[in-house]
């Protein structure tokens, strides 16, 4: 008997040790790159942690649980959200477990989670014999499962308009502000703002987080409408948070601009500015952006509310000048314009032009007098008096005198001269620019069409030949390519960006053989 016991101990002990190690240790995939969490999987967090952070709470303890929502729906077999979730007296949907509503503090929430989850799992196991996890490692550290990737839903103009129509044009159904005196949420006309302007990423004592607020309002309303047998938006995770399902949401072709009492046109000018003020066609921009917060990134206020001429705190340290001109920002004027220039056919030239805005483009915006009129906001009539900015004029007759074709003979030894259809390309550029109003404005002078190739030269000057800078050797110190390289980079680079032909023989024809029979 003793020997049998020893046998078993002997055989089991390594296995046991391994099992214990595997069970106790942090699962190793937790230490790797955090896996992509699918849309229907909710990362259960005990407190407000940055969403992008590694889902562990207190470095040394167990990783957060990835909660697979669809799996639970399937296991429970009913579609009643109220089994787990609560709806408050105003019909708002309260995201998260109903047993955890109002439970504060990490420890308390942790215990509540454990109690609710494990109790239910045990019950399931008892009643239906289903293998619901009850051990720590079965939930903590289990991979997030598979499914379509999560992405945020963008409440763009089209979606906004559809909701507005469904609400009979009543903004107050969604928009609200907190009235200090009345101690309640009220609607004030023309103060409507994006949810995120007030509801931040994290829960605060006086404000719910953006996620909680939007789920409460959106899902709650969708549920109510469904209950009333009316058309409603999605109530499940995937409906809003996967690109595939969102693509199925109906879109309005041309949503009208939103009315919030804003001026159609305005003059942007600053006290003591040294450059001309800017006439800004607000209405013109409204329909070209996805939503207001593409520019009004924090509040619906005007830029100068936060951004000041000096680096004030409220603008995040960004001065007003940079707020307009930072070419790397997604919300600045120049930044947005630059992004437009890197899309589509504009790429052919602009992928190489890294120093935007080009100097000659300043007056395209700054065209009003330096000393602005007293009222910064102009009525439509005032605006008429201001000089209309020049749009791209037609290619004039003398422009037609541009060389039609140029023969490039750099590789004369191996190839016949390459024919460069100069005029054809100029006409094509002209056509591309004319198609876009933005491009028409910034290419106000015809010469700007030339500077994509004839770079580093004063605008309008007769272009110097490439050879004058690009010699046969090039300069490594200045990173200036040789003529041979410069031609290829210029031509092939553009062709590459525009997906045009790039083969050697598309431009070059091999030199004729000496003797042909």
């Amino acid at each position: 008997m003793k020997s049998r016991g020893a046998t078993i101990a002997c055989l089991l002990s390594p296995g046991l040790a391994l099992a214990l190690l595997a069970g106790c240790g942090q699962p190793s995939h937790g230490r790797q790159q955090p896996a992509a969490v699918p849309a229907a999987t909710i990362t259960l967090r005990l407190a407000d942690e940055p969403a992008g952070a590694q889902p562990t709470y207190r470095q040394l303890e167990r990783p957060a649980v990835f909660f697979a929502h669809p799996a639970h729906l399937q296991a429970l077999g009913d579609k009643d959200c109220r089994r787990c979730h609560a709806v408050d007296d105003q019909g708002r949907f309260l995201p998260g477990l109903k047993q955890l509503v109002g439970v504060k503090g990490r420890r308390a929430r942790e215990q509540a989670y454990h109690r609710v989850c494990i109790d239910c799992h045990r019950q399931q196991a008892r009643q239906k014999g289903k293998a619901a996890p009850v051990l720590c490692g079965q939930c903590h550290g289990a991979p997030p499962g598979r499914g379509p990737a999560w992405s945020a839903i963008r409440f763009d103009l089209s979606l906004h308009q559809r909701h507005l129509l469904a609400m009979d044009g009543k903004c107050e159904r969604c928009h609200h502000v907190y009235d200090e005196k009345l101690k309640k949420l009220v609607w004030k006309k023309n103060t409507e703002s994006a949810c995120r302007d007030c509801h931040g990423r994290y829960r605060r004592p006086e404000k719910t987080s953006l996620a909680d607020a939007s789920h409460a309002a959106c899902v709650g309303c969708h549920l109510r409408r469904l209950a009333g047998k009316r058309s409603a938006g999605p109530v499940d995770c995937l409906g809003c948070h996967t690109a595939g399902r969102r693509a199925g949401i109906k879109r309005l072709e041309k949503p009208p601009p939103l009315e919030r009492g804003q001026a159609e046109r305005m003059l942007i000018c600053q006290e003591g500015a040294k450059t001309g003020a800017v006439f800004f066609e607000h209405r013109n921009h409204e329909t070209r952006v996805a939503a207001c917060h593409q520019c009004h990134h924090r509040t619906m206020n005007k830029c100068s509310t936060c951004h000041r001429r000096s680096e004030a705190d409220q603008g995040g340290g960004v001065t007003l000048e940079r707020a307009y001109h930072d070419s790397r920002s997604a919300v600045s004027c120049v930044g947005c314009h630059r992004r437009q220039a890197e899309e589509g056919d504009c790429r052919g030239c602009h992928f190489r032009l890294v120093q935007l805005p080009a100097q000659h483009s300043c007056p395209q915006c700054h065209q009003a007098p330096i000393q602005p009129p007293s009222r910064p906001q102009l009525a439509g009539t005032d605006y008429v008096g201001v000089a209309v900015r020049p749009l791209l004029g037609p290619l004039s007759e003398d422009r037609q005198q541009l060389p039609e074709r140029i023969e490039i003979k750099v590789l004369a030894a191996a190839y016949r001269p390459a024919v460069f259809p100069h005029l054809k390309i100029v006409k094509r550029l002209d056509e591309v620019v004319r198609r876009s109003s933005l491009a028409s404005v910034f290419h106000g002078r015809v010469e700007t069409l030339c500077s994509g190739c004839h770079h580093h030269q004063p605008l309008g000057a007769r272009p110097a030949p490439c050879r004058s800078c690009h010699d046969n050797r090039g300069s490594r110190q200045q990173d200036r390519p040789s003529l041979y390289t410069a031609y290829h980079r210029q031509c092939v680079g553009c062709h590459q960006q525009l997906r045009l032909k790039q083969g050697c023989n598309d431009c070059h024809r091999p030199a004729a053989k000496e003797v042909s029979p």
Partner: protein
């Protein structure tokens, strides 16, 4: 000399410490590599996959024409590697999609700063020259192909079909041309200027300059500056290097150092084993001798005991014999006396 004991000990400790740090600094010192060595910079943002470099490489090295002619896009359908006929290959790592053009990378021997091939060769057939290229000496190559095995970049190839004189073949960084003051063939041929030849230190500056100028288009990293101790071929671009078939996040330690740390144990084995094993031998021999001696003694003791016993037995027997003899004598005497008495009595009666 009156040094307090404490002072003396303190001085000693300081001396040991100083010696310790000196030793440590000797152990962690690293040679910076050849200062003026040449290198090449490949800019994957500029490369358009025209394969002119392949063609030039073949021309310069006298290799057969490309198997797939230049301009035939189908060559990119599968990843190619260097071979005996291609010292360099251009692969496409990302197809053009949306507005983004395709991404290509030229592959060839990287000419490591501390080359694996050189460290693993048991006849030193590879040599890192001060000019940068890693050279191969076929005249002493035995053909074990450990170098091909060890190369982390899969850059070396072997002439398997050669029956008598197979060689390891790979990019030579056009060493003969460099010595003549020319550029390597590929750098000269590249129409896009995606390959730049120059001193490695200059190329690093150039690469940084490009990254600084266009931070949106370049990843702020020069592949080959530090990877596995650095390489003479440098790569920059806007695609994560892991996607370009390079070892993203590679350690800055040269791989040969793993081997050298292992080989440092070898002399220890040679020095420790004989003494240790001789000790074991002496121990087991001694044990054997002892047991043999014990056996001998035990045998002797047993013999002695046997002899003693025999003697005792003999003695006892002798004594017994003696006693019996005495007894017999006494009995005989007694008998004789009685007989005499009897006779005397008879005679007395008769008388």
């Amino acid at each position: 000399m009156t040094i307090s004991r404490r002072g003396f000990l303190g001085g000693l400790a300081a001396g040991t410490l100083a010696a310790g740090t000196a030793a440590a600094s000797a152990g962690v010192k690293k040679l910076p590599g050849w200062p003026d060595s040449y290198g090449l910079l490949h800019d994957t943002n500029l490369c358009v996959g025209c394969r002119r470099c392949e063609e030039a490489c073949k021309r310069v090295n006298g290799l057969p024409e490309p198997a797939v002619p230049l301009g035939d896009e189908s060559v990119f359908d599968k990843m190619r590697r260097t071979s005996k006929d291609d010292y360099t290959v251009v692969n496409r790592y990302r197809r053009a999609d949306g507005g983004r053009p395709a991404v290509y990378r030229k592959h060839q021997c990287m000419h490591c700063q501390d080359p694996c091939c050189a460290s693993v060769c048991f006849v030193q057939a590879f040599e890192k020259t001060p000019q940068g290229p890693v050279l191969y000496h076929p005249e002493r190559c035995v053909g074990c192909r450990y170098c091909v095995m060890a190369c982390p970049y899969y850059a070396l190839a072997y002439e398997y079909e050669q029956v008598w004189t197979p060689r390891v073949v790979r990019c030579t960084m056009c060493y003969p041309r460099i010595k003549k003051g020319q550029q390597p063939g590929c750098a000269e041929a590249c129409p896009m200027g995606a390959i730049t030849f120059g001193r490695r230190s200059d190329l690093l500056k150039l690469a940084r300059q490009r990254i600084r100028k266009q931070p949106d288009r370049y990843i702020d990293h020069i592949y080959g500056e530090h990877e596995f101790g650095g390489t003479s071929w440098l790569t920059i671009g806007g695609t994560p290097f892991g996607e370009l078939g390079l070892h993203e996040g590679a350690v800055p330690t040269p791989l040969p150092e793993i081997g050298s740390s292992y080989l440092s144990v070898v002399p220890l084995v040679i020095t420790i084993y004989p003494g240790l094993l001789a000790g074991f031998y002496a121990f087991s021999r001694r044990r054997e001798q002892l047991s043999r001696k014990e056996t001998r003694e035990a045998v002797a003791a047993a013999l002695e005991r046997a002899r003693q016993e025999a003697e005792n037995k003999l003695q006892a027997a002798a004594e017994k014999a003696k006693k019996e003899k005495e007894k017999a004598v006494a009995q005989a005497v007694k008998k004789a006396v009685e007989e005499a008495k009897k006779q005397a009595g008879q005679t007395g009666q008769e008388a």
